[in-house]
Assembly symmetry: C2
Homo-oligomer: 123 residues x 2
Amino acid sequence: MKSLLLVAHGSRRAESNAEIAVVAKSLSDRVQGNYAQTGYAFLELAEPSIPDGIDALVKNGATEVTILPYFLSAGRHVHEDVPEIVNLKQKELSDVKIHIAPYIGEAAEMIDVLVAISESDNK
Amino acid sequence: MKSLLLVAHGSRRAESNAEIAVVAKSLSDRVQGNYAQTGYAFLELAEPSIPDGIDALVKNGATEVTILPYFLSAGRHVHEDVPEIVNLKQKELSDVKIHIAPYIGEAAEMIDVLVAISESDNK
């Protein structure tokens, strides 16, 4: 069973973390043809952690987990921290295929979003 | 003269900061009908700073500066740090109209980008 885990940085502000839950819910509705379930997790400062987020999906039947890094640039978090945590979990869960998708900042469509904001702000 | 300033967090990794320069260049090409010039700046860990980024645009003729926060969630940076720095600069530059646009994470189109990544990753 293919599952998706949206991974964000996490914030000390509860409202920021709540935004991620909303994004994950909208994403879940949009990708359910491809992914049976969509969860979310945080690298730090908030719960659930990435290992806990993966565990929740696996407990619910996931055999494949795609990690979707909700980060804008390829800093230390994207290059080191998230892969390190995911790799450790992968070693523990040898029956589950865990894979990290490109981080959102790398998507070509991000420019379209910036253009849309700057245009609507210019009206 | 309307100008745009893409404001990112900044990273200790030079490659991450270089990504922002590339994004700003692409954005500049796309919005030049609305904004005469597009620059970029970093909240911390990298140069140019936000005040320096604003100064560069103003030195080049900007009379209006739209700050475009390249942040995914409304944490402390979006709610406090960026506005505080921008407000201080606004007080100094009373002839320039400085305005903060919605941060990118708030854009409805962000879900489309996540859907695109998760679909292309599923192929």
